[in-house]
């Protein structure tokens, strides 16, 4: 029972990360019908910018850990968001009218460029975040000991997702995003500047991914320029599980995939952990391709 509960919280925490990255995939897909392969590398970029910030400046001593990390978090989100906008301008906008294969190849190329740029700048070896920034306490929940950091990660992910959900549902820009996701032409007729909305989406999605990267760096402590690839792929699987193009779906899919993976690693085998995610993908695509919360799509999948 203890193992189950530990793995459940573990899975939820990592699922929160998957959900944040999956939100980036699903928003971009909803608006452009394109799978942004470079998204995982923007996640890595967030982690590495966090690394640079933490090792270059020593604000932690001056302001205390929590405000510093919050400030860095916001800074990272902004910078990675800007990187997302640049990515869209350079690699995707010229191919807006081309066929899908060209956009996919361009996305792959962008992914290779970003991850290798990170490698050239920071080196190919693993980098390590400074330790013990946040208190290393363990909470006592329902009689089990759970690390505080794990719960913090989960809570932060849920808070960010809630903010995004309210933004998309209640604000004008959010409504515009939903309109562009339905139909570009009709949105234009309603007076929406489609290019601007796409840029906004390419700011928000990567910003969330960058925040996820920072959190992963703080929790696991280790960085590698290829870490974004596996996270990105699993986050894409999470988005598909929930229904791609669907924002609550991405959140649900992420949490679900995290829990399935953690429980699978504990009860089946830890060596096959990554393969479990791909098996789940294949099953979902065979059984329910539109995803759990997906809308009925007219064209065949």
């Amino acid at each position: 029972m203890e193992l189950f509960f530990q793995q459940l919280t573990n899975g939820l925490a990592i699922g929160g990360i998957y959900a944040l990255i999956a939100l980036g995939y699903t928003m971009v897909y909803g608006v452009l019908k394109l799978i942004n392969f470079a998204h995982g590398d923007l996640f890595t970029l967030g982690a590495y910018i966090g690394f640079t910030l933490l090792t270059s400046f020593s604000l932690v001593g001056k302001m205390g850990p929590l405000p510093t990390l919050a400030l860095y978090g916001l800074l990272i989100m902004g910078l990675v968001g800007v990187a997302g906008i640049v990515l869209e301008r350079v690699a995707y906008r010229p191919l807006r009218s081309a066929d899908r294969l060209a956009a996919v190849v361009s996305a792959l190329g962008a992914s290779i460029v970003i991850s290798n740029s990170i490698m050239l700048i920071y080196g190919a070896r693993f980098q390590v975040y400074p330790h013990h920034l946040l208190p290393d306490i363990t909470l006592n929940m329902f009689g089990m000991k759970v690390p505080f950091l794990r719960m913090l990660m989960l809570v932060l992910s849920i808070v960010l997702m809630a903010i995004l959900y309210l933004f998309v549902q209640k604000t004008r820009i959010g409504t515009a995003i939903r309109a562009v996701a339905i139909d570009h032409g009709a949105a234009r007729l309603m007076g929406i500047d489609v290019n601007r909305i796409i840029s906004i989406v390419f700011f928000i999605g990567p910003a969330l991914g960058g925040a996820a990267g920072f959190m992963v760096g703080l929790y696991y402590g280790q960085l590698n320029f290829m870490m974004g690839w596996l996270y990105g792929l699993k986050a894409f699987i999470a988005a598909v599980i929930g229904g791609i193009g669907n924002i609550p779906g991405a959140m649900l899919g992420g949490l679900l995939l995290g829990v399935i993976e953690a429980l699978g690693a504990a009860y089946i085998s830890i060596a096959w952990k990554d393969a479990i995610a791909f098996f789940v993908l294949i099953i979902i695509l065979i059984v329910r391709p539109t995803g759990i919360l997906g809308e009925r799509v007219a064209d065949k999948i």
Partner: protein, 312 residues
């Protein structure tokens, strides 16, 4: 037209004489180019001729190579006899994985094929069924024997591989211009219209997958006997990416384009070895730039010409 054919024939003859001119290192580079060329031709059949987004080709390659390695090291069957058998196992594997996913649309098929190549790699590393040797791989694969001649040196492998390339080019060329190839082209251009005209798209797509897998399995055999050691590192997702790029950047659907793509993508990094660190970066940039400025590839396939019989 005739002059062009003479020029091509001359280039081919000169090329087949190249082991006499180059030293062993460059002949080995040419061997590598040859292996990737055949792999890319088999991927071209799936991706370029049929339009299926397939990023898991390294999985079929791996199945063929490991079949050869296991059967050769455990039962000492000569490598040459295992060529069709590796192709067969890869084809069966291709059928099993493609059957449930063949109806998926482009982007989803792409991600699932990535998943397949990852599952295969993880299975190989985890020593599935206890015969794959884990992450160390399998060593001690014997060289091919043809009528008593052991193919061991790079020059001998050059002829072995490039004759295989020539045969592959011929066969794929004939396949492209056959009724089957025309059906695949129809599926690539407009799937819905093809199905409406009576082309059974699931069946043809599946056959395309299986044929491509069969060919990749045979190349796996050649690779295993050339290296005598294989390990899961040779069959990662990045191999699939390289093959995918060779097909797309060279010219998807075009045999000449694919061969040119192999020369460029495998040969150029060898020439620019000093920039080894930035190699992948330039690779990625080239992908983006090519897609913006020349998405059909360097040598796109020639448009299909059908001669209409004259009236009188």
């Amino acid at each position: 037209m005739k002059k062009k054919n003479y020029a091509i024939a001359l280039v081919c003859i000169l090329f087949f004489l190249s082991p006499l001119v180059f030293n062993a290192y460059w002949v080995d580079v040419l061997n590598n180019i040859g292996i990737y060329a055949i792999l890319a031709l088999s991927l071209n059949f799936i991706l370029g001729d049929t339009g299926l987004f397939h990023m898991g080709h390294a999985a079929f390659y791996a199945v063929g190579a490991y079949t050869t390695a296991i059967l050769n090291t455990m039962y000492h069957i000569p490598v040459i006899w295992l060529i069709p058998f590796s192709g067969l196992t890869a084809a069966i594997f291709g059928y099993l994985v493609a059957r449930p996913i063949i109806h998926l649309r482009g982007d989803y098929l792409l991600i699932v094929t990535i998943g397949i190549v990852e599952i295969v790699r993880i299975a190989l590393v985890n020593n599935i069924f206890g015969i794959t040797g884990g992450s160390n791989g399998i060593f001690g694969i014997s060289r091919p024997h043809i009528f008593g001649l052991v193919i061991r040196r790079p020059e001998q492998f050059f002829y072995y591989i490039w004759i295989f390339v020539a045969v592959s080019v011929y066969l794929f060329h004939r396949l492209r211009n056959s009724r089957f190839g025309r059906a695949l082209n129809y599926i690539k251009e407009d799937e819905v219209a093809a199905e409406g005209t009576g082309v059974n798209i699931s069946r043809y797509k599946l056959i395309a997958f299986v044929l491509g897998a069969f060919w990749a399995g045979m190349v796996g055999n050649i690779y295993a006997s050339k290296m005598t050691i294989i390990s899961p590192e040779s069959f990662t997702f990045w191999e699939s990416v390289v093959l995918f790029c060779i097909v797309i950047l060279g010219g998807s659907g075009s045999i000449n384009g694919v061969i040119l793509g192999s020369f460029l993508l495998i040969g150029l990094p060898e020439i620019f070895r000093e920039f080894a660190q930035a190699r992948m970066l330039i690779f990625g940039l080239a992908m983006i730039v090519m897609m913006i400025f020349r998405p059909q590839g360097i040598l796109p396939p020639p448009p299909r010409k059908y001669r209409i019989p004259s009236i009188n």
